[in-house]
């Protein structure tokens, strides 16, 4: 027991000593689940890191580790950053939730920020983006643009985040075009370019002329480009290399403002544990430029919808809405509460097919 106490206190003193030494520079660490060159999820987090560097210049030092497996390896990577004197650590994948909390318990002086999770601690915040707000805008454009009335959706895993996106896009596509039908493919991967391309092709061959994706690679864009008259939306990144067509717009994860604000808070000593769930209004979700392939009136409507969501006057989940099984969910004018949204495990009325499992 004595040995353990010694070790634990040694860890603390050393941790404190190094952070004291580096007082003049705030050290910010990032743990990435994929390579920074994935062109999607991790790429955007890394853009946020670079923005922090650019914003604070000499006052900040950033470090990162890429392709960190979730689980035991993540715990070590996070601990290592804390040991090396990081003041603030962003862990950017859902699977890092338990490791983050576990390390945070050992380093009470270090601040932690966990993306997309639901557990906090005095020195652990969570942050996530309301991507479904962007999905609503996408859904509207999709509903107005489709000629075949078939919209293809490449989903990754059946988790609330993805289901929320499907529902939001469907509700707004349906509003814009009552005849619209969704074809959903569960790819069971976040990232497998070949499979994503195949999924997009399968959807296109079955008549879809709009492809929405919740996987991270640009493969579906390339597949759509090969077919004619199909439009897509960038996911996570702008994917501007496929603009003006097939990519007509995009949802961009814009972490930079949040990362800068939180780093500033650590510098000021004003950092507090919070659960942030920001959307378009805070700039965490950005709608990529709507290209000229979209008719001007549709573009104007989409931008108006975006502004209304940002202003808070239009919640993407506003009643009357029913669940897929026909049971009531939201009465007219009622909006969905965050708890239901966070754990969403049902389709809204009108979507065909079942959620796997």
């Amino acid at each position: 027991m004595k040995l353990t106490k010694f070790l634990a206190s040694a860890a603390l003193t050393v941790g404190l000593a190094t952070s004291a030494m580096a007082q003049d520079k705030t050290k910010v660490g990032f743990i990435y689940v994929g390579p920074v060159g994935d062109g999607g999820w991790t790429y955007e987090h890394n853009q946020g890191r670079l923005a922090v560097e650019e914003h604070f210049g000499d006052k900040v030092e950033t470090v990162f580790q890429e392709s960190v497996p979730e689980g035991a390896d993540a715990e070590r990577a996070i601990t290592q950053m804390a040991l090396q004197g990081a003041d603030l650590i962003f862990t950017t994948s859902f699977g890092y939730m338990e490791p983050t909390l576990s390390v945070a318990g050992k380093f009470p002086k270090v601040k932690f920020e966990h993306a997309t999770g639901y557990k906090t601690a005095p020195n652990v915040s969570t942050y996530s983006a309301r991507f479904y707000e962007g999905r609503a805008v996408q859904g509207h454009i999709a509903g107005r643009m489709t000629k075949s009335n078939i919209i293809g959706y490449i989903a990754s895993f059946p988790i609330p985040e993805v289901i929320r996106g499907i529902n939001s896009a469907y509700i707004h596509a349906k509003k814009a075009n009552p005849d619209v039908q969704f074809k959903i493919i569960w790819a069971y991967t976040w990232f497998d370019p070949a499979k994503e391309a195949d999924a997009a092709t399968a959807l296109i061959e079955q008549g879809a002329d709009v492809i929405l994706q919740h996987t991270d690679s640009t493969a579906p864009q390339a597949a759509a480009e090969k077919a004619e008259g199909v439009i897509t939306f960038g996911q996570a990144s702008d994917m501007a290399e496929y603009a003006p067509a097939p990519r007509v717009s995009s949802i961009i994860d814009n972490w930079a403002p949040y990362y800068i604000a939180r780093t500033q808070a650590v510098m000021d000593g004003s950092w507090q544990s919070v659960m942030t769930w920001d959307g378009i209004s805070a700039g965490m979700v950005k709608i990529g430029e709507i290209s000229d392939a979209v008719p001007a009136d549709v573009k104007a409507e989409a931008l108006a919808l975006k502004d209304a969501i940002a202003a808070g006057t239009n919640h993407p989940f506003t009643g009357p809405l029913k669940k897929q099984d026909g049971s009531d969910w939201l009465a007219a004018g009622e909006t969905a509460d965050d708890g239901t949204l966070a754990g969403m495990n049902f389709y809204v009325e009108g979507i065909e097919g079942d959620i796997p499992n």
Partner: protein, 306 residues
Amino acid sequence: MDLSSINPVLLLASLMVAATPILIAALGELVVERSGVLNLGVEGMMITGAICGFAVAVETGSPFWGFVAAAAGGALLSLLFALLTQFALANQVASGLALTLFGLGLSSLLGQGYVGVKPPHTAKLDIPILGDIPFLGPVVFSHDLMVYFGLALVAAIWAMLKYTRIGLVLRAVGENHDAAHALGYKVVRVRVMAILFGGACAGLGGAYISLIRVPQWTEGMTAGAGWIALALVVFASWKAGRVMLGAYLFGGVTVLQLNLQAAGVSIPVEYLSMSPYLITILVLVIMSADRSRAPASLGRIFHATQ
């Protein structure tokens, strides 16, 4: 559920595209294994080929030179394996796994400047009259050149193994390297050539993914295709024709699965994804009835004692 929305013509056509990368890579590995060498590094060589082909195609603007570079890149990487296993007499299983690790690292280093770049377009062959035949036209006659290259390779390797002297020597070396050596065949030389050929094929298969099927470069983009190619060779019981069948089956299951989902059929995705592997095991069991056809010297180290 609306099965009528699946168009069989388009399904078959995209099945051929999905099958091509694993087909080409597996044919290369088939030749390697026929020579008595087991190279588990197919995934590493494929992804190296994918980036070499992509980079050169982007720089030169020519997919043709891209594919040439992919073959060269794959072969060069396999040369490492050849040196290790044929000259340093290292264990093939471990060397192959090390090759995959090395190839994955190398490719992502090489590819750092190519994320988000679009490669030059590879033209589809539009064969004037044949392409217009109903059904057969779009299925068989409207692909890019590499699809036909893969099919030609099947025929070429089949003929090579069956009718040529090279094929005879290759099989002799793979069945019994000591006897082959006693007959005066250069065992090591034959095997090195086979390994290089396998590397080149894996490289081509990888480049097909990065230049045509997807087409783009992203780290780790082969996502396990190399391992499927390995499974294919076994599935095919080391016969070129059956490799083709297997490639369509493996590629087909994915394409079909996605199409069924799009058509609204609820299918247990995980269990369907397992099926090609379970079928392969079944094939192995059935095959064993007529005595396992694996080359007898597969995976064994050869050193000529004089």
